[in-house]
Structure formats: C-alpha cells, structure tokens
Symmetry: C2
Subunit: 146 residues, 2 copies
C-alpha cells in the first residue's frame, strides 16, 4: 500500500449505504458479445437488494434476466477529486410477479427516461453477492497516521 494512498476501501455496509444516496447507477450487460453500460434509476430496498427501473422493450431485458449482473454507481467531485465508487455483482431478475410489479409501479423508482407516452417500466431486482467500493479522500489527508 502506498504511504500516502488517498484511497480507502469501503465495507459492504458502507457501500450499500452510499448506493442509497444516489438516484442513478450503471448496469453492465453483454450486447453483441461486447460489454454495454446503461445508466438506470435505482433504489436500495430495506433488505439490501437493488431495484432497477428501466423502460420496457429495451434489449437489456433478455441480456439481464437471470444472469449475474454488474452494477456500478459513484459520486465524484472533479473539483476536489474526492468521491466514492461502488461495484455490485449479483443475480438479476426481471420482476414478473404482478403484485410486486404493481407495488413497484406505485412506490418504486421511476425509469430515468420516463416521459409522457414512454413505454411501461420494467423492474429488475439484483441480489448483491459481491459488493466492493472505494472512497477517495481529500488531497493531503493520509490514511496512515505514521
């Protein structure tokens, strides 16, 4: 580890807490054999799952459903070069249960690209299996007291 390393690893608890503070993250999926990255609105549920809200009909559905997905979110301040980034891996499932879907339509996140006449939202649940994150401290603040 560098003596003046400004980068601090985050616990899983801290990561999930930080995820709850931002409205949009990025889901990674495979399209045409290449990794694709899509910004999506999301929320963290009380039991620590991620609920993503997307528009119906995007090819993401087939690419995400029942796969291990990667989801990333961050909050970075270019002026101070501080911030955090969290990466989650977990099984993704498109919500098909009518009751849960109905509840999410009322109380869940709204797709980022929502607009008048937009297609119905699709919800994807991710159960985090691997959670990792880093926080970048302000310049000059060393993690080590030595």
């Amino acid at each position: 580890m560098d003596r003046d390393n400004r980068v601090e690893s985050l616990s899983e608890e801290e990561c999930l807490h930080l995820l709850g503070t931002v409205p949009v993250g990025r889901v990674v999926y495979t399209a045409h054999a290449l990794p694709a990255v899509l910004p999506v609105a999301f929320e963290v549920t009380a039991d620590g799952r991620l609920v993503l809200a997307l528009r119906q009909g995007v090819t993401v559905r087939r690419a995400l459903d029942d796969t291990v997905a990667a989801f990333q979110a961050d909050a970075l301040d270019a002026a101070t070069r501080t911030g955090w980034s969290v990466l989650v891996h977990g099984r993704a499932q498109v919500v098909s249960d009518p009751a849960l879907r109905e509840r999410l339509l009322r109380t869940g996140p709204r797709p980022w690209e929502d607009g008048a006449g937009a297609a119905e939202p699709m919800f994807v649940l991710i159960l985090p299996e691997l959670v990792s994150g880093e926080r970048q401290l302000p310049l000059g603040r060393s993690l080590l007291k030595s």
Copy 2:
C-alpha cells in the same frame, strides 16, 4: 419508436464532443471472470482517441492492455432528468513508448486518485471503433414535430 420518446441517439461526432466535456469516465474490464467498472480520468485527443490515466500497479493493466475495452461516460442531471451517456468500444493499449509517456506525464490527464506519494501514472490509449450515445431531452419536449 415511442411517439413521445425523449431519448435521442447521438452521432459519433456528438459523442466524442460530449466526452471531451467531462473529466472522468468508467472503463469496463474483466476481473475474476466478472465485469468490473472503474472510474478513470481521461481526455479526448485531437485525433479522436481516448487517453485514460490510471495509477500504476492496478490489476487493470493486464486486464486492459491489447484488449477491446468498453468505456462509458455520462452527465446526468437528477433534478431535470436530462443528460447524456456515451459508450465507446475500442482496442486499448497501455502506453509504453517512453517519449509518448513523457509527453503525457507533462500534458496528459492526471489520474483521478493522484496524491502525494501515489504511484506513477499509467496511460491507456483507446482507439474508438464503435461509438454510441443517447441524449435525454427535457420532459415535455418531443422529438417528433407531429
């Protein structure tokens, strides 16, 4: 296409222009057989390549060098739900040429996690082969004049 779709596809030229307006993007690579996403400082060169600046020694080096990498950047405004997202695929190469490296150390992007005592920067060039992007327009503004 939805009649009231607020999402507009961007040309490659627009995408590269927008990429030049933000200091940080996210590079996708494979780690332990899973997709990983890392925020990195970057710039767009005059000839349309991306220069990423990372800290030396990260496992990213082996994962990125001489592979087809995915790189994403966006600027999203949660209040108005507007913004853009651009995705680039292209061959990534760690800069090993001493003269180019020397020049980038003087004039290139500075790694996001730079700090006193931080390891030497590593630069990665990406030559965009596929460039795609979308812009999300303000609510109520339809793309179609009908």
